[in-house]
Amino acid sequence: MTGFKALLLRDLHLAFRQGGDGAMAVIFFVLAALLFPFGLGPEPEALARDAVGIVWVMALLASLLALDRLFQGDWEDGSLDLMALSPLPLELVVLAKALGHWLVSGLPLLIAAPIVASMLQFDPAGLPRLVLALALGTPTLSLLGAVGAALTLGARRAAVLVSLLVLPLEIPILIFGVAAADPAATGDGATQIMLLGALLALALPLCPWAAAAALRQALD
């Protein structure tokens, strides 16, 4: 497990020292979400109705921002070779990288989301459910993103390709995520929360496995 920890810490270290990607995701999330009142009009009822959808779509897009660089840098400078040669299985390399991506770009969204939702006139009573749904949904986004990033490794315009690959796969998370905290929905959203948990439980072993297979191809 030394290797897993070392890789995760190095990625966090790099993210903070270079200061770019992580902060960028949150700033993008907040700014882009706050554009909606200008586009949709400032009526509180309309905004309150759409707040959950806005938050989720923006969270989805924010998670895509740094995705194309997830493996690219390590692939270009030869670090990925060393990771493949190390005793750490490539699946765990992917898991460490996805976890790093989530800690840097997903976790801050959990803090920013209630603020943004409140600015959009979202009913405060629904905030815990929204945050819980995001907490279960955003790690899945990072895991799916890791698969996309591994598949597009070495491709030109990888950033666009990743989005095209990953966004359709993320639709179920969007549907359940929005439904979990939608004020118009009946019920307490527990079913949707559980489904989000199930998706995460499914992605946790499958995505690293698929991404590792793609990385092996890229390293040949």
Binding site: T2, G3, A6, H13, D77, G78, L82, L85, S86
Partner: protein, 214 residues
Amino acid sequence: MRLTAEGLAATRGERPLFDGLGFALGPGDTLVLTGPNGSGKSSLLRLIAGFGRQTAGALRWDGKPLADDLEAYRRQLHYVGHQEALKPALSVVETLRFWADLADRPLHDPAGPLAAMGLGHKAATACRFLSSGQRRRLALTRLILWDAPLWLLDEPTVGLDDEALGLIAGLIERHRAGGGITVLSTHQPLPLAGARQLSLSDFPPARPVVAAEW
């Protein structure tokens, strides 16, 4: 401890690189790969490191195909490729520590290996401030961070000054004396005692692949 290749053939993309290549290396052997650019030296070294698959032939470590137990085999080798695997924002010592942790090897004293490679005064420097020769030296420091019987070095001499060339030759010589195997590619003559040469142009692909018709 034996590395053997028999009837090895490989392609890069669609282009065949070499065919019928073979060698047998035992403890203390050094093999220098030569050949013009694009002849497949790097591909052969990557193949030996367990990346990709040959199109024909077999690579064996102690008589067993590499793929049989790739993980155990890879723990026995050091691979230093073209890229130095350095992050501009990490310091020299942090880089060494990361490499050792990743390989699950203890790193007690990074200062010793760094001093041996002439980088003692650069320990706290961020990698972005290293010159290309210093980057190369740092990548090669990995060789002496922990012991591995098989060294695979892809153009280790690129960008190195005469002093560093002597250092590398000394490292390989010490490795050889200790019974280690080294396979390296180089365009610069290195003073290596008893090194065997293998020219990849002696193993041309059997037939040129006919370009696919469109």
